[in-house]
Structures are given as structure tokens and as C-alpha cells.
């Protein structure tokens, strides 16, 4: 028995290689949530009055709400008074001050270890990074280079100070604080995240990415990202996430807002690998996120690509509101759940403009005792003449103790619309695995081959370097899930 436990632990630990913690002087405010805490966060960040008002309105509204329970999830009770809402690992010095700031070498080392070098000369080719740990952006690379083209890429805290007019115009314009329980919470206490503005006619020459890391114990992370892509502009943006292994659940309640204007295009990719909890289902990040893009301009385009392998619970629906005539949206998703992980994820495509088009490709992979649900809404408003949607939702099961569920909703108010939905469920069979074994391929590698083949359509949508990472991640996440 003892031996078996050791083995189980080894598998679980091998599986999650980002579970280390960084020993760095971190300023953590006392646990608890109240108006005073909201004021304190705002004060620590040196925010203008209008933003404090925004936070307070959101907080007061949040207090009137009950946590939602409609997800196909077994949610642990979250005690919102037992979380610290602000943790600053740069307390030893000044925090993100662009390219010139001094960064604690421990923080540099942490991001190096995560494969995210913060020195520009070491960077992945063509990628600029905003590195966020706990509540604070640590560093944003290639800022000067991007500035030459008029591109703004910085932490949202800095954007509030340096580009208040832009933040004020767009913050909450896609996801209002009244949107839902977690959106209201985030709007009240959000800490850091990235701000991107691509001016008219500019094609962003680099991949922009934000790397989110939770480090401090007993804290929540409330990321807030805002991307505005002006007329005829283009940007490809990627976010990555990891966290240490902790026995308790950690809350990550983020908001991502994207505004896409006329003829503009945004590609948003996520490789989410928050700590999923151990093999017994203890600990792990609760990933409760509201992501939405507004395709405001004519012929605007937005695509969400997500590879979700981490978190104890993933509950999010990166969505698109297609207002602009002829706008096009895509959602490509791979969600992997193993052990006791749970996911209820999918998308919402809201067609408002004429000739709008959306595509949904969702691939769920469940293993162990996990539960994996796709939930998606396709809504076609009266005004959306000739709207088109194609949805394809596939589930792949490994083993017999996991579950896959599909909840497609359609709400069509225009006769000229065409909405198609396809769904399949398949299982990796013993025969397939044995066939691979007989050819000399061991079971874990066979699972990785099959899963990557299954997810190929989505993985191929990621920028190249990240596609390779995502492939490895899929294999690693399912280690020990069969046999």
C-alpha cells in the first residue's frame, strides 16, 4: 500500500512540473473582502477616482448576488472571506517599470524555469511577454520596439496611469460588471493583467503573450485583460498559466475583454495549465473566467483557441458578439480532464450583424474519474440575416470512470440563418492500444499519439512554438490515465 501511494504521488508530481514555489518577499494584504479592501487595492495601485468608483459599484452589486450553481460541476464551497485579494511579489522593489526596472533575481529565475525568459535577448523568437505573478505584472518585454509602431502593450495597471482615456472607454464595455457573479467580483478586486492597443492599420509584428503565475499561498488571482484592435489592425495574443502545487484550492477569476473594429483581426490563444490538484482530487486552481470579444466593426474577425489541461475546475465560455456586418468568429478548444478534474466549458456565439459567420470546434478528452462538459450557445438575433454557424463537438473517453457531456443551446430568431451542430463520442479502445503496444509503442505514448491526433485540428491553430508545447502537455496531462 505504502509503495502504491509513493507511486501514485510520483505520477502526480511528475505530471505537473510547474508545482514549485518561489521564495520572494511578497506583500500580502489580510484575508477578507469588504469595501475597505476594495479601497485598499485601489490605493495600492494608485488609481484615479473613476476606477475606484467602478470597483465600488461592482462590489456593491456583487454583494447582492448568489454564486451560480448551474454548471455541471461539484464546486467546493468558496469562503470569500478566507482569501487574500492582493499579493505583490515585487514588494522588495518597484514592480513593473518597463524595460528599465530592476527585477528581483528570484523572479527572473522563476520565469526562466517556466521557460519564459524575461531578458529580451533570450526571448522566443518574435514573442513579447507580459509576466504577471500573483497580483502584479513583473515585466513586459519589447515594449519600446512595439511603441515604434504605436502599439501599446503593458500591464493594465500602467495603462490606467498612462492611457486612462483608452482604459476608461473600453473597460467593462464588453463584459459589464453586472454580467455575472464572478465578473462582478473581478471588477471589484481585479489586480493585474495585460493591456493591448493596436492602432489603425497596424499589423502587430510579434506574438504578444501574457504569462500568469500564481505563487503566494491563500491568495486569489483576479486577472484583467483588455485588448483593443483598431480598424484594419491585426494581433495574435497568447496566454499561459501555471501555479504551485498546494493542498488548498486557489481561485482564479479573470475577465478578458476584446474589442475588434472594422476589418481588424484578433487571434487569442490560451494554453492553460494551472495546477489541477493531486491524483486524489486535493487542491488545484478553480478557474472561473469570463472571456468575451466584441466584433464591432464590419468584416472583423476573432478566433479563440484554447488548450485547457490544468485546473481542478474550469468553468468558462470564451464568447463572441458578432455585431459588425460580415464579421467572423471561431472557437477552437481542447479540454483535457484527468483524475478528479472537472470542466464545463464551451462558447457563446451571438449573431447580431448581417452575414455573420461562426465556427465552433470543441474536443473534450476525459480520463480518470473526471467530468468534462461542453456547453455552447448559438444565438441568432432577428437582425442577423444570413447568419451561419457550424458547431462540431467531439468527446474522447479514456477508461470507464470518466464522463463526457454535451449541452448545446440554439436560439434562432431569423429564418435565413443556417445553424449546424454535430457531435461524436469515441473511446480509445483496448484494441487500439494493444495494436500500438505490439508495434513497440508503450501505452502512454500510444495515448499521447491518439490524443494529439484527435486534437490536431485545434493544436494546428496555435502559433508554432506553442503548438509544440501544447502537444507535449497533452501527453503529460494524461500520463497514468490508462492501464
Amino acid at each position: 500500500m505504502e509503495e502504491k501511494n509513493v507511486f501514485v504521488r510520483e505520477v502526480a508530481e511528475k505530471k505537473y512540473q510547474y508545482g514549485f514555489t518561489t521564495d520572494v518577499q511578497t506583500e500580502v494584504i489580510d484575508k477578507g473582502l469588504s469595501e475597505d479592501v476594495v479601497r485598499l487595492i485601489s490605493e495600492k495601485k494608485g488609481e484615479p477616482q473613476w476606477l475606484l468608483e467602478f470597483r465600488l459599484k461592482a462590489f456593491r452589486y456583487w454583494q447582492t448576488l448568489e454564486a451560480p450553481t448551474w454548471g455541471h460541476l461539484k464546486m467546493p464551497e468558496i469562503d470569500y472571506q478566507d482569501i487574500s485579494y492582493y499579493a505583490n511579489p515585487t514588494a522588495g522593489n518597484s514592480g513593473n517599470s518597463g524595460n528599465s526596472g530592476e527585477i528581483d533575481p528570484e523572479l527572473m529565475k522563476t520565469f526562466d524555469k517556466l521557460g519564459i525568459p524575461l531578458e529580451e535577448r533570450l526571448a522566443l523568437s518574435g514573442t513579447a511577454v507580459d509576466a504577471v505573478m500573483d497580483s502584479v505584472s513583473v515585466k513586459t518585454t519589447f515594449r519600446e520596439k512595439l511603441k515604434e509602431k504605436g502599439i501599446i502593450f503593458c500591464s493594465i495597471s500602467e495603462a490606467v496611469k498612462e492611457h486612462p482615456e483608452l482604459v476608461r472607454e473600453y473597460l467593462g464595455s464588453v463584459v459589464p460588471y453586472k454580467d455575472n457573479f464572478f465578473a462582478a467580483l473581478n471588477s471589484a478586486v481585479f489586480s493585474d493583467g495585460s493591456f493591448v492597443y493596436i492602432p489603425k492599420g497596424v499589423r502587430c509584428p510579434m506574438e504578444l503573450s501574457t504569462y500568469f503565475r500564481i505563487n503566494a499561498r491563500g491568495t486569489g488571482q483576479f486577472e484583467r485583460t483588455l485588448i483593443v484592435c483598431d480598424d484594419d489592425a491585426y494581433v495574435s495574443y497568447l496566454e499561459g498559466c501555471t501555479a504551485p502545487m498546494r493542498d488548498e484550492n486557489q481561485l482564479h477569476a479573470a475577465i478578458v475583454e476584446i474589442v475588434v473594429k472594422e476589418n481588424a483581426e484578433v487571434k487569442y490563444s490560451t494554453v492553460q495549465n494551472w495546477y489541477p490538484g493531486d491524483a486524489e482530487g486535493k487542491g488545484g486552481v478553480l478557474n472561473l473566467v469570463t472571456k468575451r470579444g466584441h466584433l464591432r466593426g464590419r468584416n472583423s474577425r476573432l478566433s479563440w483557441t484554447q488548450v485547457e489541461t490544468g485546473s481542478a475546475i474550469t468553468w468558462k465560455y470564451p464568447s463572441c458578439v458578432l455585431s459588425g456586418e460580415g464579421s467572423q468568429a471561431e472557437f477552437y478548444s481542447v479540454a483535457v480532464t484527468n483524475n478528479y478534474q472537472q470542466a464545463d466549458t464551451g462558447t457563446k456565439m451571438i449573431h447580431i450583424g448581417k452575414n455573420t459567420k461562426s465556427t465552433i470546434i470543441s474536443k473534450g478528452i476525459s480520463a480518470g474519474k473526471s467530468q468534462n462538459a461542453y456547453r455552447g450557445l448559438v444565438k441568432v438575433a432577428k437582425t442577423a440575416d444570413n447568419a451561419r454557424n457550424y458547431s462540431s463537438c467531439d468527446s474522447l473517453l479514456l477508461g470507464s470512470k470518466c464522463g463526457a457531456h454535451t449541452f448545446p443551446y440554439m436560439d434562432v430568431h431569423n429564418n435565413t440563418a443556417v445553424v449546424e451542430h454535430e457531435a461524436t463520442t469515441s473511446k480509445i479502445s483496448e484494441d487500439q492500444l494493444f495494436y500500438c503496444n505490439q508495434r513497440g509503442i508503450n501505452t502512454e505514448e500510444a495515448v499521447s499519439l491518439i490524443v494529439n491526433g484527435y486534437a490536431k485540428e485545434v493544436i494546428n491553430k496555435l502559433p508554432m512554438e506553442f503548438a509544440v508545447e501544447a502537444q507535449k502537455l497533452l501527453g503529460v496531462s494524461l500520463e497514468g490515465s490508462v492501464g
Binding site: 513497440g440 509503442i441 490536431k456
Partner: protein, 250 residues
Amino acid sequence: MLQINNLHATINGKEILKGINLTVKDGEVHAIMGLNGAGKSTLSNVIVGHPAYEVTEGEIIFNGKDLLKMSPEERAHEGIFLSFQQPVEIPGVSMVNFMRAALNAKRQYKGEEPLSAGDFLKLMREKRKIVELDSRLTSRSVNEGFSGGEKKRNEIFQMAMLEPTFSILDETDSGLDVDALRIVAEGFNKLRTPQTSALVITHYQRLLDYLKPDIIHVLIGGMIVKTAGPELALEIENRGFDWIKEEVGL
């Protein structure tokens, strides 16, 4: 090369093999014939280590090593290959990726470096010719949408890629038309060397005409009841199995 001593095996608690003894020497091709349900496929599955079968007694020694102690993939690395009776489809996994994983796993086991992408593709092109397998097929997913004949050719193609020393052909002739049978059999013959051996499971003389086995075994009721030279296969073709049953008193 391969020595099987008093092998007993069960599936779902039911005994199928009841004391098999069989010795295959380097360079030999043996054929196993017998009625349906005699245990022919069970024997091949047990040799390659299919998890559904349990060996209750006996041993299999392969080149001096205890085969039953090895995982299926170790057996493959040691040089054992099964041409499946019904090759499975693996959607989404391209033949190229599949073969590359298999070949590099074997190379790793032998302490060799993985093949470069260029060398690997060159090898694929060479080996494909042996069974006249179209490049269209090798760029598809494993067996997906292959016809029955293409699947069998694909099995021999994989054999050519992996260069096993001991191959088992489990009813490789079933479902093949005359031309496909010839291509598969000729492909197999091209791969024969004095150092490689094979076990051919079949109902028909047709395949054996091409493969020219050295020794024929008749498997009835989970036991090898008769062993003789190639003339035995011809006699079975003419007279069936009943006379053998009578001869051995079954």
C-alpha cells in the same frame, strides 16, 4: 529461436490452450492449421502478450529469454511481430507518425539514436515498394478507410519497417483476392532471411503455395496433434481434418 513448452492459456477463465509444445529454429517457416476455435489465434495472441489472455502453465523461450516476463512492447523490441487478422483503425494518427514512434521506440530500446526525419521518410519510401503500398495510404491515418486488402498489405509494410526476427501471420490471407494475396505473400518472401522465422496461421493451401513452409502443425482442441512436412497441408486441402481427428483418437 522460439521454444514453447507445455503452454496452457485461458481467456475469461476458459482454457483454450492445453499444453502446446513447439520449436521454431532460425530461418524456418512453420504453418499452423486447424478448424475455427482450435486456439490458433489464441496462440498468436499469447506469444505477443495480449492482456486478455492468461498463461496458467508452461513457458515461451525466445532467443534464450523468458518471453512471458516481458511487456508486449518489449517483445516487439526483441523482434516479435504480429500481422493482425483484423488490423484496427486509429483515426487521427498518421501512418508516418505511427511508424516513426514505433521505429524510434525500438531504436531507443537498442540504444540507438532516433532516425532523422529525412532518413525515416526515405526508409518509408523504400519499404513501401515491397508491398506496392501507395503513398496516399501511408499519408493517411493508421488503417483508416483502408480496404481489407490494403490493411493486410499495410501489416506487411510495417513488418518491413520494423524488421522483426520472428513474425506471426494470423490469417493474413483472409479476405484477400488473388492479386492482393500474391503481393502480400511475395512481400513477405522478400523479407525472409536465414536469420528470420515465422509462424503462419491459415486455413488455406493458397497462401502456403507462395510461402512454402518447412513444417506444418495441426492444432485441434488447444493441442498440436500432428506435425509433418509441407505435404500435410496438401493432404488437408484434399481430405479436411476428420481423418486426423480419427488418427489421434479425438
